[in-house]
């Protein structure tokens, strides 16, 4: 009898592993099929669409005020940012003048929403990486402080429907300014805590540095946006490059990374949170009394024929609304360009060649919201 050679003894072959759609690390319902050779990922085939609700089609049947509520459902972690793109598109198309106070409040709420969304990210991401528990609970505590404020203003923790074409649904509570300062105090503390829990954590660094890197040229080619793109060193921030609201009047830095790896995607977000705090503080100085809706606003809003592609910088990247109107009170066509949709496409490039355990970390670093991807 001839003994087996070592090659025959340890023969390897590629395996297909199905991950999701109900895997806890997929942040929603997302499925990917991983081709693995031992521990190394050789292929990734993502499957999306489990959360597709036809928001674009539904918006065609609703008037411009009703559509705001649907934007909440497409982006449930950064609702104000999603609503903002929609109302700005309608306002610009219809030529509505928005009072100054409403714009400043919108800016404050959008930046607070960026903070709450990034807190959610740091916590969930910490869990993905294996720093289980502590970071998650601490960041959720901070997020809850912000959501409490949102609840006081809008009456809802998540689905606000607070912006209106023309301004805001109603005035903020009287103690708004004190409450924002309280929230900022707690947020600043929270950011410091995240920094010491994660950025200086040996395990965290070992799991994230040099993992899932993507070059600047590739990131642009894939149409990535937001912190995921800036981590690769492309300084594209729509708040500065394609200004809306009063962003030209406030001072903030566009944060970029260098390596474009998982750590940079995390670190860009964390540093960005400090910029958000800075922006909100400046907004509070500008905030003055005044109306929150224009004096003359028709009960049923109509727009002239035309189109607009309105884009804003949401926490996950460019949130675009392509609105085509042929006159009347409803969109003829409404397309939602979601940031994660493009970012997720690049997942395959980022993951191939890394370990299976890193696939979860890389997916987490894109900060996906599947509702936004599937719409």
């Amino acid at each position: 009898m001839v003994a087996n050679t070592p090659e025959q003894e340890f023969e390897t072959r590629e395996l297909l592993i199905n991950m999701g759609p109900q895997h806890p690390s997929t942040h929603g319902v997302f499925r990917m099929v991983l081709g693995v050779d031992g521990e190394v990922v050789t292929d990734v085939v993502p499957y999306i669409g489990y959360m597709h609700r036809g928001a674009e089609k539904l918006c065609e049947t609703m008037d411009f005020r009703q559509g705001v509520g649907y934007m909440d459902r497409t982006e449930y972690l950064a609702n104000f940012n999603a609503e903002l793109s929609y109302v700005l598109a309608v306002e610009r198309l219809a030529g509505i003048e928005v009072p100054e106070r409403a714009q400043w409040i919108r800016m404050i709420l959008c930046e607070l929403n960026r903070l709450s969304s990034h807190f959610m990210f740091t916590g969930a991401f910490g869990t993905d990486v294996g720093v289980f528990g502590t970071a998650f609970v601490y960041s959720f505590r901070e997020r809850e402080v912000i959501l409490d404020l949102f609840e006081e203003i809008t009456g809802d923790r998540l689905m606000y429907a607070y912006f209106r074409p023309g301004g805001l649904a109603w005035e903020v509570p009287e103690n708004f300014e004190t409450r924002v300062h309280e929230v900022l105090l707690s947020a600043r503390h929270g950011i410091r805590e995240m920094d010491s829990l994660l950025t200086e954590n040996e395990i965290f660094l070992a799991r994230t540095k040099g993992v899932g890197a993507i070059s600047a040229a590739d990131a642009v080619d894939w149409g990535m946006s937001g912190p995921s793109l800036r981590a690769s060193g492309v300084p594209l921030d729509l708040r500065r490059d394609d200004p809306y609201l009063y962003y030209p009047q406030v001072d903030f830095d566009v944060i970029t990374g260098e390596a474009g790896d998982v750590f940079d995607r995390y670190h860009v977000r964390l540093r960005e949170m400090r910029e958000s705090v800075r922006i909100i503080e400046q907004c509070m100085e500008h905030l003055s009394d005044g109306p929150i809706l224009p004096e003359r606003l028709p009960r049923m809003l109509r727009t002239p024929p035309g189109e607009i592609y309105e884009r804003t910088e949401a926490p996950r990247g460019e949130y675009g609304i392509y609105l085509v109107s042929r006159g009347g009170n409803r969109p003829y066509r409404l397309k939602v360009r979601s940031a994660c949709f493009s970012n997720l496409q690049a997942l395959r490039d980022m993951t191939i060649g890394h370990y299976v355990a890193d696939a979860v970390v890389i997916l987490g670093s894109i900060d996906i919201v599947l509702c936004e991807v599937d719409r």
Partner: protein, 189 residues
Amino acid sequence: MSPEEGAPDAAADDAARDYLETTIWAEVDRALSGITARPVTDEEERSVIDLVVRVPPREVVTALRALRDAQGMNFDYLRSLTAVDYEEEGVDVVYHLYSVETRHNVTVKCRLAADRLVVESATSVWRAANWYEREAQEMFGVRFEGHPDPRNLLLPEEMTDVFPLRKSHPLAEIEVLQGEGIAYEEGEL
């Protein structure tokens, strides 16, 4: 709404419009030499903030590649790709481009005849076009020739004969419930 003033200013609007239709168009026209492109200036069709350029369907990928590689204002970033159904008039395929370096936008459109919804795939220009084209294909029935992976993306994979975002596709009875006559009387507006 201009970001500095917060108030619509007719003169500033005209200047912005003029800038789009002369300066930006001159750049785009230079990049698209040899392609029959025209800017959309009709008030009812143009975009409020961007320049819109119409290109015949058979030349659209050549045009996109020329815009991506153009000197000076190279539109190297595909923001979004989608389609709009105009029923018997055909289907528009819409490409939103952006130049990361010069921060300019341009929208490229091509009109496909209703009985021939075929256009060349832009995946050879940007990999980003991949999922956008898959979505436009399943939702509108536009076929993107040369697409590397033309399966359904959001819809079930076997659902290839239903195009939900076409105007002819019904949305149950919601149209009737939320019609204008319910909440607001005619003439009240």
